[in-house]
């Protein structure tokens, strides 16, 4: 009946699919990664960059768990910046410009070097079930592939429809066919599904741009890697450039609004509020005189330049007019036009926290099919779906990251608890315990988790332990009393010191910075990373805030630990409104904490649910005692 046999099948080799396949294979399961074009594995379909605020956090977390994205982004990176360093270390986040071609090559090499992983070029057209249990997939060429678990990471391919001006055509990604058969198969599975929209800007030819008109945006003098395992020196090979739109361009856009598929009603899917097209910006912020645009090179071996900030689905002639209206781009040649794309997604409330669907055992979803946007968000779900597909096959409990533990945990919890009606992107403000979720401690938070899951090699584990010990030593050195702690230096600055101050006690003073103590030779920072120093300094200086956060973490942990039986009957609970009963029955939260995050659930209804659960539990307990 089946032609090929695997334990895990991953459909789609984008950023989610690569991590999912790698994770499942690394854990030891025989894994097949299906892609419609094996030359386009890990294609960066939009901007040539990885990371950014909150997204950089996710990349660190993937790396700490044993995933690939951080390592690949470091190797294929051509310009590195650490963002938000003007603030506390909790919101520092790395970002890098990537060489797109190189990124594909490095990722494919990493996958090829992964044991148990088989890359396959074929189109999956159908998912095969036995009852509500996955048994495999069917390919366009007629082969049937047996698999215990399937991870769908279809990106924008499901019924993908590209819009450029008045024209529209089916496509999965620029120049690639859409998945129509698979989309129809998924629509027929009974999931709540919908349409989302995203867009991409035009690409220009570098040689036709007058760069003298733009402000340079260089990389950091000391690049910060994504991966904890990156040892080599990172190098900035390119520069980005900052440009602005102007009033004339906005007028051009307004004049052509009727030709925009976004405003003529041809696009039905909802786009992200935080990644609006240029026409959106002009309409919604009509009083702005200019909008920022950043010219980002797509690689070192190509002349292609990405026009960040100019995502548009206006007709090509209008796109050309807009570009030539920018000083410095007057004679710019357009290599590819911008476009908008609509695609199917499955409402993520259809999933459990493990990313397995509630309807079908063994079917996992990750990436844009779940309504998210961004390479990092996709990869973060990919690694979790891969791990949990492996857990499912091995009949071990799923790995679920908590909100207090990782941005990835927050993202998945948000998705499965609240669903989404626009492409979901991560922000640090989504994290209630932001101070603890830093890039410097991603390894401390997650590497032991990754190790337990079987994703961390002995070599990486050894490195992790060394690093943890080094940081702990440094931390303790700051707590040790010092007779010599630079008395003269402080007395010279009018600071009154108690006898034998510790460096930590000095750091508690707002005016004293660790950086200064290091510069003055009072503290030896040997081998400590900049982000670690900043995190340790902040922990000491703002101890009160850290403790406040810890108390809240403890409070929420209690509520997380109060699990809700999956068969709880909400409709029989007196005191709950019908609307709340309906919501709770549909989402089926796994813990009291998750239930509290469902929009529209009131504090009183939370208490009632908690009360009923405990009463039921007590009743069962006392009955079993009696017997």
């Amino acid at each position: 009946m089946f032609d090929e046999f695997y334990e895990v099948v991953v459909v789609g080799a984008g950023h989610a699919g690569c991590e999912a396949a790698h994770a499942a294979a690394r854990i030891g399961l025989c894994t097949a990664l299906y892609t419609m074009n094996a030359d386009l594995i890990a294609q960066m379909s939009c901007n040539p960059a990885v990371g950014g605020i909150a997204k950089g956090h996710i990349v660190r977390e993937i790396d700490a768990l044993g995933g690939l994205m951080g390592k690949v982004a470091d190797e294929a990176g051509i310009q590195f910046r650490l963002l938000n360093t003007g603030r506390g270390p909790a919101v520092w986040s790395p970002r890098a410009q990537e060489d797109k071609t190189q990124y594909r090559i490095v990722m494919r090499r990493a996958l090829e070097q992964t044991p148990n992983l088989y890359i396959k070029q074929a189109e999956v057209i159908e998912i095969l079930f036995d009852g509500n249990e996955i048994i495999g997939v069917e390919l366009l060429d007629g082969r049937r592939v047996s698999s215990r678990a399937v991870v769908l990471t279809t990106g924008t391919f499901l019924n993908g429809l590209i819009h450029i001006g008045e024209r529209q055509f089916t496509s999965g990604r620029n120049g690639e066919p859409a998945s129509i058969s698979l989309a129809n198969c998924i629509r027929n599975l009974g999931f709540e599904w919908g349409r989302l929209k995203t867009g991409t800007p035009p690409r220009l030819d570098k040689r036709s741009i007058d760069y003298s008109k733009f402000e340079e945006q260089p990389g950091d003098g000391e690049p910060t890697p994504f991966s904890f395992s990156t040892r080599r020196e990172l190098q900035n090979k390119v520069c980005c450039h900052i440009a602005y739109t102007n009033r004339e361009i906005h007028d051009t856009i307004r004049r052509n609004m009727a030709r925009s598929p976004l405003y003529s009603g041809r696009i039905q899917g909802l786009g992200p509020r935080y990644c609006p097209s240029l026409e959106d910006k002009v309409v919604k912020f009509a009083d702005r005189e200019r909008h920022q645009i950043i010219l980002e090179p797509e690689g070192v071996d190509t002349h292609e330049v990405y026009v960040n900030g100019m995502s548009t689905s206006l007709p090509i002639d209008v796109q050309r007019e807009i570009i030539s209206g920018i000083s410095g781009l007057e004679s710019a040649q357009m290599i590819r036009p911008g476009y908008a794309i609509e695609y199917d997604f499955v409402q993520p409330t259809e999933m459990r926290n493990s990313l397995e669907t509630k309807r079908f055992r063994g079917l996992f979803l990750a990436g844009q099919i779940n309504g998210t946007t961004g390479y990092e968000e996709a990869a973060g779900q990919g690694i979790m779906a891969g791990i949990n597909a492996a857990c499912y096959v091995r009949r071990s409990p799923p790995l679920i990251l908590k909100r207090a533990e990782a941005y990835i945990g927050i993202m998945i919890d948000d998705l499965v608890t609240k669903g989404t009606n626009e492409p979901y992107r991560m922000f640090t403000s989504r994290a209630e315990f932001r101070l603890n979720l830093r890039i410097d401690n991603a390894d401390r938070r997650l590497t032991p988790v990754g190790r337990a899951a079987g994703l961390i090699s002995d070599e990486d584990w050894g490195r992790y332990e060394l690093r943890a010990a080094r940081i702990e030593r440094f931390r303790q050195s700051l707590q040790a009393p010092r007779r010599d702690a630079g008395h003269d230096y402080y007395i010279g600055r009018g600071v009154t010191l108690h006898r034998h101050p510790t460096v930590a006690s000095l750091l508690r003073r707002p005016e004293i910075r660790l950086e200064e103590l290091i510069r003055e030779g009072l503290v030896d920072s040997a081998e400590m990373r900049r982000e670690d120093l900043s995190a340790i300094e902040t922990e000491i200086k703002y101890e009160g805030y850290m403790k406040q956060q810890d108390r809240e973490v403890a409070r929420i942990r209690k509520a997380e630990e109060r699990s809700i039986p999956s068969d709880l009957d909400y409709s029989s609970m007196s005191g709950l409104s019908r609307e709340i009963v309906e919501k709770l029955s549909r989402i089926r939260p796994e813990s009291i904490a998750q239930a509290s995050r469902i929009p529209g659930i009131t504090p009183a209804s939370m208490s009632i649910v908690l009360f009923h659960i405990e009463v039921q539990k007590n009743r069962v307990r006392s009955e079993s005692l009696r017997q």
């Binding site: 605020i53 506390g88 509020r273 609006p276 640090t428 009131t602």
Partner: protein, 457 residues
């Protein structure tokens, strides 16, 4: 962002509540449950016999400054042998609302929190005390929740409190959005708000909240009613006036001065506000020991009253006893009443005494004017209840906590603490207001960011 956190009632802190119904009674019971119980008892309770589990001890309760408040009977129930399963302390004090509130205040000062409706029962269930309360508890708890909701809804006049707090909440969300945008969209072309500007805005919100908190003085009156004491020297017709108000021969009226020995009380409704009238024994020097106790009680009643009606005899001139009473009530909110006007008006209270209302309890003349005068005092003393006021101690506590959190935020901004930390305090402030009005927000803040700033590439 405090995602859903405010919807979860903490289950490991210490809670306190007055468990006897509001108003005066012989004994008022306060119940405390949680891990701080013994520490609180050790701090405020001076005992004649040491506290042992399940044994009542007599002692004195002191406030946080060490001043004795009342004599109490304290009973400690050690975990798990208590109703809630936690350490529990039951205090029986005198049933005087002021005293009970002062005791509760000192307990909150030591780190406890005023309990939500049904919360003691909920803890009992969470701690597996099902054998004690059984299914009865479920109904009781659910009723407490629904009743509390209904009562709050009623007292908040159909969401007027929510509406009143809306501008402050809205401004907080606005500030949160701006600070968050500065962090999350540092790469975009957004302007980072200046610390000083935000501090000024937060201070203004804080001042508003202090104003709103002040409405609790009136809200308490609305919720628990106004205590109105009728005082005067014997035989000026206090009891007749009382009966006029109450509309029944409630007090015994005789010609003999000093007939009323106990404090009688009765409630009527004035524009929906419950008025609790207390007719008191006439104030005079007396040799009769029973009457003496009555007079002492009168003075107590005076100190607790929200409004005092001073009754003078219109038909006889002001004497030393009247002056004595007038001097005692000078510091309270009072209305002067000239009774027995049907017998002619001779009495002149003097210019330093508030204008007197002329009535006759016998004929009923002037009663409408007196009602108006009371109404005026009550309303001018408080606020217009239709603009939303705080009516329970829990609500006042939430607003106080919000004010404290915003104070911390302002101090932190002035010290240049990074925004991601200052935000913790601002979120805490908003969370406290959300507990009051029961609304949620994550997407409010993101929505605000996206509608305020042009973000995205």
């Amino acid at each position: 962002m405090q995602e859903g956190l405010h919807k979860l009632i903490p289950t490991d802190d210490t809670i306190v509540a007055i468990s006897t119904p509001p108003g005066r009674s012989g004994i008022g019971v306060i119940r405390i449950s949680g891990c701080l119980v013994e520490r609180i008892a050790g701090r405020f309770l001076r005992l004649s016999t040491p506290l042992t589990s399940k044994r009542a001890s007599l002692g004195k309760w002191h406030d946080e400054e060490g001043t004795p408040i009342d004599e109490v009977v304290a009973t400690l129930f050690k975990s798990p042998g208590s109703y809630t399963g936690e350490d529990t302390l039951e205090l029986s004090a005198h049933g005087n609302p002021l005293i009970l509130q002062r005791i509760v205040h000192s307990i909150c000062f030591a780190g406890a929190r005023i309990a939500a409706p049904g919360e003691f029962t909920m803890r009992a269930v969470l701690n597996g005390k099902m054998d004690l309360i059984q299914a009865e508890a479920v109904r009781g708890f659910v009723e407490a929740q629904t009743l509390a909701q209904a009562r709050t809804a009623m007292l908040q006049m159909g969401g007027t409190l929510s509406r009143r707090l809306a501008p402050e909440k809205n401004q907080l969300i606005d500030i949160l959005a701006r600070l968050e945008a500065g962090i999350d969209f540092a790469e975009d072309d957004v302007s980072v708000p200046d610390n000083h500007v935000v501090a000024v805005e937060l201070t203004r919100i804080q001042e508003k909240l202090v104003e709103i908190r002040a409405t609790y003085t009136f809200g308490k009156i609305l919720f628990q009613g106004i205590r109105l004491a009728i005082v005067g020297k014997p035989n000026v017709g206090k009891s007749s006036l009382f009966n006029r108000f109450v509309g029944a021969e409630r007090a015994i009226v005789t010609e003999i001065p000093g007939t009323t020995r106990d404090v009688l009380s009765e409630s009527i409704s004035l524009d929906g506000i419950p008025l609790r009238f207390s007719d008191t024994a006439g104030v005079r020097q007396s040799a009769d020991p029973i009457e003496c106790i009555g007079i002492q009680k009168t003075m107590e009643e005076l100190s607790e009253a929200d409004l005092v009606l001073v009754v003078l005899d219109a038909s006889s001139p002001l004497d030393a006893a009247d002056r004595e009473i007038l001097s005692r009530i000078a510091a309270t909110t009072y209305v002067t009443v000239l009774n027995k006007c049907d017998l002619g008006v001779i009495c002149e209270p003097g210019s330093d005494v508030a204008a007197a209302i002329k009535v006759s309890a016998v004929t009923g003349s002037g009663m409408e004017e007196l009602r108006n005068a009371i109404r005026e005092k009550v309303i001018s003393n408080g606020q217009d209840s239709s603009s939303g006021i705080l009516t329970t101690a829990r609500q006042a506590e939430n607003v106080t906590r919000a004010v404290d959190a915003l104070k911390n935020a302002v101090a932190a901004l002035n010290q240049g603490v990074p925004h991601e930390m200052v935000l913790l305090d601002i979120y805490e402030g908003l969370e406290q207001l959300n507990v009051l009005t029961g609304e949620v927000l994550t997407d409010d803040i993101l929505g605000r960011i996206f509608s305020t700033f042009c973000i995205g590439k």
